[in-house]
Subunit: 359 residues, 2 copies
Amino acid sequence: MHKKLFIPGPVEVRQDVLEKMSTPMIGHRSKEASELQKSISDKLRKVFYTQKEIMLSTSSGSGLMEGAIRCCTAKRAAVFSIGAFGNRWYEMAKANNVKADLFEIEWGKAVEATKVAEVLQTGKYDSLFITHNETSTGVMNPIEEIAEVVKKYPEIVWCVDTVSSMGGTKIEVDKLGIDVCITSTQKALGLPAGMAICSFSKKAVERAKTVKNRGFYLDLLKLYDCIQKKNYQYPSTPSLSHMFALDYQLDNMLEEGLDNRFKRHKEMAEYVRNWAKENFQLFADERYLSNTVTAIKNTKGISIGDLNKKLGERGFQLSNGYGNLKEKTFRIAHMADCTLEDLKELIHNIEDIVNTINS
Amino acid sequence: MHKKLFIPGPVEVRQDVLEKMSTPMIGHRSKEASELQKSISDKLRKVFYTQKEIMLSTSSGSGLMEGAIRCCTAKRAAVFSIGAFGNRWYEMAKANNVKADLFEIEWGKAVEATKVAEVLQTGKYDSLFITHNETSTGVMNPIEEIAEVVKKYPEIVWCVDTVSSMGGTKIEVDKLGIDVCITSTQKALGLPAGMAICSFSKKAVERAKTVKNRGFYLDLLKLYDCIQKKNYQYPSTPSLSHMFALDYQLDNMLEEGLDNRFKRHKEMAEYVRNWAKENFQLFADERYLSNTVTAIKNTKGISIGDLNKKLGERGFQLSNGYGNLKEKTFRIAHMADCTLEDLKELIHNIEDIVNTINS
């Protein structure tokens, strides 16, 4: 039996979108491939609220995260972490001999803009890496406030991981001044896993030109140059299946209307939070709750593993806590094409199972 | 109108295989995902003729090629090139500060085993990189003869690019002693583009442990450790769609029978070569012709661009020559699930168009 996914990626994908994954192959050096890339880029610029170049990478979001920290750091990177994926960015720096410092915030808390200001005013850094939405904790960082700080430091190339938020909440890339904004297909965009996406600023281009040892496959400058000079094509063969599905799904998103989409996500988030507060507790700082995933403290001490197994028998799947938070928390994702009705159905089943366990 | 692809990747994919790309998502940390990975690995070991570990990478073949040269070279890499993709391997070494020397063979010729012996006996190298089948020239290197040489140098970690040959011709990885054998989905395996595959030997594992600065996303040791220790799962979200289709297509391949499959490829290659020799000339050294793609000298001076355009109007696509060989050669791929009948249909149309141009 298929389990409807309420995990923070991969998400449940609409049947019509899944079907586009079966589109027959075309040559990746063909005119059709260029047109497909251009069409996707134009639509993604709307979702990203940007005029910048858009690049696709046949990799997970981690691929572009690694490319970004490697290509955008000439001096030293400041990496802020509020959970597993921020830590990963720092690990990527170390694995590539990129000079970097890690600023870890307690799990469940957000990066406050004042903390970013403190770090940047040391003058030690030329690049900044921040997770927008941390799926391990359900925290969404106050990106607008942070942007106000970053704007004061023109030497900073700013890279933001919006892997689990882009398409589910408004992120105005150009207004915020984000240089490299990274996302991937299997989260709030509502597509199968397997492709990553980023916007890439002129400042990032100029920085990358000063960096040697950028690698090949994840070299963002190489991707950019190919897009610019080779008629919107890539250095190596991309996942055309994902491109067909992405092009189609972007039409769905724009048809729903971005504002409607963000509103739907907010409503779903509020519904799950309210239920969680009534029955358990929220894990994250209530000032910085994610609109796409909610982490819930397991205050009732139920076995999350058992709950998920029983949910599986009924055709649903949620996420246990991440890493050390396993069994101490559980997570419900509410993103992509998920609806309030879907969440009500899930929660009805959770309550039913928990009541059965307790009775 | 869909164009039937006779280009050396992406290839034409069977409709039933395409449909598997639409399989609904599952959690990438689920038991089902582990079972899917295990099932794929077991079947791939048959195709690779190996007992070694098999790893998938959500990237093009280039991703794993970069990972291999970076992870398997502690001292210095010897890179043999017989065309564009061999040169790319050397470029990847340079882009990652991996010490390497490039040994370029004239395009259209193969790497002779004696040349490999000359280079290895210098004792300067601890890794060796060879393209098995070069799509830019239609040459297939004499891998068995080269293997006899490599066996004399136990310090050498041997990596072979079989991107455009694996599944189309017999490559006995264990018998040949290949440490890292790389391929990708969109060639002779007959799947959509977007995933790369490699086998990984214990010797390669031990070598990678001695190499620092292996990166993150393309770190083959990280992939290996995850597969070994994390219940057949990956460090980041893989393209599950490709995994579903790959698992299914491997059944098709094993049902056809590998020997039957290789025989079919040989027959198709011979048919195209004979036609090419009668009407044009072969580009590659006739002793080392590829079983999956034939490069043909444009001795009639026809416009390959026009030919391909007219073929496109009839629902077919072949490849122009690669890089500097554009218009001087053209290429017909005969791999994956392509049949002799498909090739006869293509060639009938080529002849018809060429006759019309000439008349």
